[in-house]
């Protein structure tokens, strides 16, 4: 099989994971900017992180012939400090012309606070002004329902934003409908305990169809599985879905969304 991993935090993973993903058929990996597990102390820390995402990590992936793309932002977990966020958002335009940057992400909300909303609006404004794709993180667990509603309100409230150029990630059964109904793309994250299992993701596919839906692992520094997408593909096959359906969910759908950024290209043999 071949697949695209549209959301993985590879800076937190070991090189063996690149080898395993490529062996499993990964044709490209996309890395949204993320929280490091601790708060960075200054905008300079983000500058270094953006260099890591746009220079070092593509080189590491290239050793396995794997194209590596990224998204830039200050993650909602660090968005309570609006002053710091403003400094970081000001850094982003300097990086947007780099050849592997796909857009703004993963922006969104974490605890649904007023300051997080202000920073989300800053990012949305930046994406709208510079015509960037948007990748949105929705909050965890009990905060997801409220956060998803607030995020959709912000995106709908900015008339420059086209829903088909935004993917709202980490949907579950109680949020997928509102995301798809709004015309957005929806990402299902295959993550132990806090998001979707493979079986539930296949349930969602069977109930909502495959239009504007993708699968990702969001593997990071926590307990997570960099091969979650091929494992979900296996679950689809176990449930009787055709190879063409698996290909659509794991390769064609992310390719369709990501190709809205002209920088996203795959090698001819992918």
């Amino acid at each position: 099989m071949r697949y695209i991993e549209p959301h993985a935090h590879m800076v937190s993973r070991v090189t063996d994971d690149y080898r395993a993903m490529t062996t499993a058929g990964c044709a490209a990996v996309c890395e949204p900017a993320f929280w490091a597990g601790f708060d960075r102390s200054s905008a300079a820390g983000f500058y270094d992180y953006f260099c890591q995402l746009t220079e070092h990590e593509p080189r590491r992936a290239a050793k396995f012939g794997l194209p590596h793309y990224c998204w830039l932002c200050i993650n909602p977990k660090e968005a309570e400090d609006v002053g710091l966020a403003r400094e970081v958002v000001a850094l982003i335009p300097k990086f947007l012309d780099r050849p592997t940057v796909l857009g703004i992400g993963e922006i969104g909300l974490n605890k649904n606070s007023r300051n997080e909303l202000k920073v989300l609006e800053m990012h949305v404004d930046l994406a709208a002004r510079l015509n960037q794709l948007v990748l949105v993180h929705t909050p965890h667990l009990e905060d997801k329902l409220k956060g998803t509603r607030l995020i959709i309100d912000v995106l709908r409230g900015d008339k420059r934003i086209r829903p088909e150029r935004c993917v709202i990630d980490h949907v579950e059964e109680h949020t997928v409908g509102m995301v798809l109904d709004g015309g957005f793309w929806a990402g299902m994250t295959l993550y132990p305990e806090t998001k979707c299992t493979s079986a539930r993701a296949v349930d969602i596919i069977e109930r909502h169809g495959m239009e504007r839906l993708w699968l990702n692992s969001a593997c990071d520094w926590g307990v997570s599985e960099p091969l979650a997408v091929p494992y979900a593909a296996l679950e689809m096959r176990r449930r009787g879905h055709s190879p063409a359906a698996v290909e659509r969910m794991t390769y064609e759908n992310p390719l369709r969304f990501l190709s809205q950024c002209p920088k996203f290209t795959l090698p001819a043999n992918a």
């Binding site: 965890h140 329902l145 059964e173």
Partner: protein
């Protein structure tokens, strides 16, 4: 897939998870001290299983979710605990 095929595929896994939940509740019963809002939310969510409209997973998630609409004044933590603490 038909029901027989789905049972063949998932019954043992679901059975194991069901027993884990039962054992978790027994463990709580044996322990001393007060429970908190999480157990009440868990029991509320368990009650949502008693329906047959194909929306159990969604209803369980809703039972464990913050239903309010106003943004929080500030983020006082970065973590989520899995159940909403109803303000009394």
């Amino acid at each position: 897939m038909n029901r027989q095929q789905l049972l063949d595929l998932y019954f043992l896994e679901a059975r194991a998870k069901l027993i884990d939940i039962a054992a978790f509740l027994d463990r709580l019963d044996r322990a001393e001290g007060e429970a908190d809002f999480r157990l009440a939310a868990f029991n509320e969510a368990l009650g949502r299983l008693d329906r047959n409209d194909g929306r159990r997973a969604e209803e369980v998630l809703l039972a464990l979710s913050d239903p309010t609409v106003e943004p929080a004044l500030a983020a006082t933590t970065k973590t989520a605990c899995g159940a909403w603490a109803r303000k009394s």
